[in-house]
């Protein structure tokens, strides 16, 4: 049996951490883009589209992320679509992230007075102009803090990708545990690395909250 020094364990975990970071970033970027589109759709007040967004939100907020990942990974392959663990993880995390961000952003947009929409309308601006020049710049200030706060959930959510065989931080921890039989030590390291990723995000979120809420 090979001996693993502490450094060996940490080195391997850090290597896997880059996949956790990459997966988090990809999920966050894709999730935000989808959420942006869904937010715009919701604001058109077209009843059919609004209903669609509502069902989307309920569906992906109302089921465990792990189930969504299983469905993306196993479900899609059974339907004949070849999908890698990496693809399935990004897809399901995107669905999950966007469903929550739409709701968070809805709150931010709804804090703006109705008068901002009306003033834009009577000045002759169309929907997209109003969104771009009036609503988004104001809503974004309010949305920064809770959005960064939610990114912590995305980072932690990536741990579930270990179950479908994607080698990120948690999966690497499991594998190292199988090789070293030192679960306590290995998972302490894993936990510390997650904490090192998430804590700065929380701090940043608190900083943004103070900055923008005092300034308003």
């Amino acid at each position: 049996m090979i001996d693993f020094s502490n450094w060996d364990i940490v080195r391997n975990l850090l290597f896997a951490t880059q996949w956790t970071v990459l997966l988090s970033l990809a999920a966050f970027v894709c999730g935000s883009s989808v959420a942006l589109c869904l937010s715009a759709i919701r604001l058109t007040r077209n009843p059919v589209m609004v209903r669609f967004v509502k069902v989307y939100i309920e569906l992906f907020q109302g089921t465990p992320l792990l189930m969504q990942m299983f469905l993306c990974f196993f479900g899609l392959s059974m339907m004949g679509y070849e999908i890698s663990a990496w693809g399935a993880a990004i897809l399901s995390l995107t669905l999950f992230t966007s469903a929550f961000l739409v709701e968070i952003w809805r709150g931010c947009i709804d804090t703006l007075p109705k008068g901002q929409w009306e003033a834009s309308r009577v000045l002759g601006m169309n929907f997209l102009q109003t969104l771009r020049f009036i609503i988004l710049p104001q809503a974004m200030r309010v949305a920064f803090a809770p959005t960064v706060g939610f990114s912590v959930q995305v980072v932690k959510g990536t741990a579930l990708a270990s179950v479908i065989g994607f080698v990120e931080l948690t999966k690497a921890g499991t594998m190292l545990n199988n090789a070293t039989f030192e679960p306590f030590k290995v998972f302490i390291f894993v936990a510390l690395i997650y904490f090192a990723l998430c804590y700065p995000l929380s701090l940043f979120s608190q900083f943004l909250e103070k900055k923008y809420h005092v300034a308003r």
């Binding site: 008068g115 009577v122 601006m125 169309n126 710049p137």
Partner: protein
């Protein structure tokens, strides 16, 4: 020739009949004050004229174009109808200058420099030439409302709708805003005001329209109407506000 024409306009909020067949003709250059108790439908009437509210029966036209609340119509309408709100509704993330320049640049497709020139001229007109680079939150309510007037004027409207524009102001700031309106009236701008400023309605307005229970109850020349009201309801209303 009427600039704004309302023909038997009916408006419902669900089962609530807000406007019960309004007929009104407003000529270019007229200053019309709409008065009445809260809930009499004054603001709703104003908001129907620029398409912010739908109406269910009758017809409204401005400058011979029919008003509907369809988005495209409202935007075409915005070129001839300006509106000023009780709560100013300035854009807080933009400077005063940017507030005024935005619609002329993106809606009328004017160049930045042209829009800037217009914005400066309009600010001078409302007596705020030095506030171009300020943010709205740094201004008093009266100043904010004058910026809102400048913003509406920059679109070169044919008629300006004012929805209780002095009601949210401290009493000592009301005068500055009314002075701007008076100046506009003298220059021949068509004004339709929902207002509680009876002195202004009498001294500057040409016509007063008294609304009661969703109807035009009584209307006429402003001085005559306010000094010799015919209906009991208007007498009571004048007694209550003066």
């Amino acid at each position: 020739m009427s600039l704004v024409k309302l023909d038997q306009v009916h408006k419902y909020y669900g089962d609530f009949h807000v406007l019960k067949g309004i007929d009104l003709n407003i000529k270019a250059g007229e200053v019309v004050s709409i008065i009445g108790r809260s809930g009499s439908g004054k603001s709703t009437l104003l908001r129907c004229i620029n398409g912010l509210e739908e109406y269910q029966q009758g017809g409204i036209s401005v400058d011979d174009k029919e008003v509907t609340s369809e988005d495209i119509q409202v935007r075409r309408l915005a070129l001839s109808v300006g509106m000023i709100f009780q709560n100013f509704n300035l854009f807080p993330h933009l400077t005063v200058g940017e507030n005024i320049m935005l619609a002329p640049t993106i809606v009328l497709k004017k160049s930045k420099s042209d829009a800037g020139t217009i914005a400066k001229a309009m600010l001078e007109k409302v007596g705020l030439g030095d506030k171009f680079d300020s943010y709205p939150e740094k201004l008093s309510g009266g100043q904010q409302q004058r910026v809102a007037i400048a913003r509406a004027l920059a679109m070169n409207p044919k008629v300006l709708l004012c929805d209780e524009i002095t009601s949210a102001l401290d009493p000592e700031l009301v005068g500055d805003v009314l002075k701007v309106l008076e100046q506009l009236a003298a220059e021949g701008m068509t004004l339709v005001l929902v207002t509680h400023e009876m002195n202004f309605a009498r001294d500057v307005g040409n016509r007063v329209v008294f609304m009661h229970q969703g109807k035009v109850w009584e209307q006429g020349d402003s001085k005559t109407l306010l000094s010799e009201p015919k209906t009991e309801e208007l007498k009571q209303f004048i007694g209550a506000v003066l």
